[in-house]
Amino acid sequence: MSAYLANAIEQGQLVNDWLTPKRLGSMALLQQTSWPTRKTESWKYTSVRSLEKKTFERGTTNDEHAFSSIAGLDAIELVFVNGVLQQLPEGLPAGLSIASLENVPESTQVWAREQFNVAKPSQHLFGLVNDVLADNGVIVDVAEGVTIDTPIHLVNLVSENNETQQRVIVRVGQNAKVTMIEHNTGSVESLVNHVAEYFVEESAELELYRFSFRTEKALTVSGAHVQLAKKAKLNATIVGFGSELSRMDLDVLHRGENAFAKINAIYLLAKGEHFDLHSTIEHEIGHCVTDETVRGIVGEKATAVFNGRIHIHRDAQKTLAELNNKNLLLTDDAKINTKPELEIYADDVRCAHGATVAELDKSALYYMTSRGVSRDTALVMLNFGFINALVDEMPNAVLAEWLRPILKERFVKMNAEL
């Protein structure tokens, strides 16, 4: 067992709060779990060595962090600094309630405790760590039939040597609609373990954005776990940059008929970065749809890992599931390990997946330079070309406009090294 894990278990035993009944089960599992090695299938391509012997402080400092909200976007801001919620927003729209994890009204505790770990499968090591340690986060509840037009924007800012264990639980009531933006950023040596569970109830809709922009020495392990009820809809956009260790586990559980999940994910890795996305789509019931598109561009000495599993259970007839993963390697020492998996136990389904790996189209680059466009500009345009379709598909246009310059800056950085 690694020092990190031993420490987490030790600290977990000290936690005593309203979630303790649920935490105990995870603690038991965690004590039986071994630290991942190359032989652990779900960690085959991602080493957790950089975390193995580290200890960080938790929530002890409260430094100043520069943070600017998303220009032009009217959002409900939830800014966490080292796991401390800076301010609980006031004057929320009718039908929306947000509680800080440390201070949850008893009525909310009842359902939130019940839902805790229902969407998140128990096999994620850092999910279990989060189960026993989570000490900050929010519980979001959207009442039945309510459409919340203002997106909820959650940001994590972490100081050097700090660690945050954050838990988010979101319930979108029947026929309700909400947009969540979860945004992790920073580059100093630190750890963010950010786990969120979303319960999208009958005919409800969740628009979800996950921006994982932590780079360099900022270690990140995170989970997004979505449960879809009958006719529920998920539209998720994930954008990830890499760092020494950056891992995201995405689970979507189709638990009611005619649920629909659209997932677009992009990973863009600059020199030496590592990023790992594991997505698992569980079709537990029939007549549901999954449409997952994943595009990645991998720069010099960077490694991207994608594992996309679609599991069609025995009774999930009439499922429609597609997964497509395309990768561009920018240099010869860039690496991609991709594994799209299908596990199918029902016959009347339409499932397909595809994965490709290639390099930037050299003839396109020549074509563009022959029109006078500089090589640098052409490279950035071609990088954009590879992912543009996914940015265009983001339902929130303001967010897309905010994102483009960030991506451009990233491309310039990725290509400057070539």
């Binding site: 330079t369 006078g372 466009v373 090589r375 500009t377």
Partner: protein, 254 residues
């Protein structure tokens, strides 16, 4: 305008151009004809600076610029335009955004003030109209899913926007029906100007009925073996290329 002296070039160590000489004055239209494998397309690639085409000897100057010493984009900004025989598709990058970047780069190089988006859009729409390209093609990915004829017209559209001083049309007639051919030719003819020169590379005489050349050169085995006026093209049409010395019929078919 363009002066090529003893140009020799190879691809993957295979010699393709073996000492080519050509001089083009402003406003002239030169046709380069010849059998397959003679090096016609290579000439365009070498002049425009495609990677993998290695110049082993000779020189090529455009105005006062030593072309061979410049990057592909610098040659373009210096006024050289190559209309490709097989334009590449670039999914995800829209035609409009691509051409805006190209025009910006040209204007920037000339030290001119950039066009506003609105001005540019107007110019782009006009260019599309001129070559009969529906406006929606500006929004689509560069050449993405275009038919052969649409790609050729898109090339000419780009030429209209970039206003080059030397245009190389590489088999711009191949795969076109007569109507599309006329559109391409009209686009080109509209750009004829005392300051602008053209190299029209073609296998057949057909295009030259619509774009009248001042000179016709026959390229064979990496060299210009015969030059003449427009009537030479007619001769070639009648006699084919079999008269060329050392011309290997089998190779041409390959």
């Amino acid at each position: 305008m363009l002066e090529i002296k003893n140009l020799q070039a190879s691809v993957e160590d295979k010699e393709i151009l073996k000492g080519l000489n050509l001089e083009i004055k402003p406003g002239e239209v030169h046709a380069i004809m010849g059998p397959n494998g003679a090096g016609k397309s290579t000439l365009g690639y070498v002049l425009s600076g495609r990677e993998g085409y290695e110049v082993t000897d000779g020189s090529a100057t455009l105005g006062n610029d030593d072309l061979l010493d410049m990057e592909a984009e610098e040659r373009a900004r210096a006024g050289l335009f190559l209309a490709f025989q097989y334009p590449v598709e670039i999914p995800g990058v829209s035609n409009l955004e691509f051409m805006k970047a190209a025009v910006d780069a040209h204007m920037e190089a000339r030290g001119e003030e950039l066009m506003s988006s609105a001005e540019f859009l107007k110019a782009a729409k006009l260019a599309c109209k001129q070559v009969n390209l529906p406006l929606e093609f500006l929004k689509r990915g560069v050449n993405e899913g275009f038919s052969g004829g649409e790609k050729k017209r898109n090339e000419i559209m780009q030429m209209l926007l970039l206003k080059p001083s030397l245009c190389i049309l590489d088999e711009s007639d191949s795969g076109l029906d007569i109507d599309a051919l006329k559109v391409v030719a009209e686009g080109v003819n509209s750009q004829r100007d005392p300051k602008r020169s053209f190299i029209v590379v073609t296998h057949y005489q057909r295009l030259l009925d619509y774009i009248k050349p001042d000179y016709v050169h026959v390229l064979s085995d990496g060299k210009i073996v015969k030059s003449g006026d427009a009537s030479l093209a007619k001769e070639l049409e009648a006699e084919g290329y079999a008269w060329l010395e050392g011309y290997d019929v089998e190779e041409a078919d390959a």
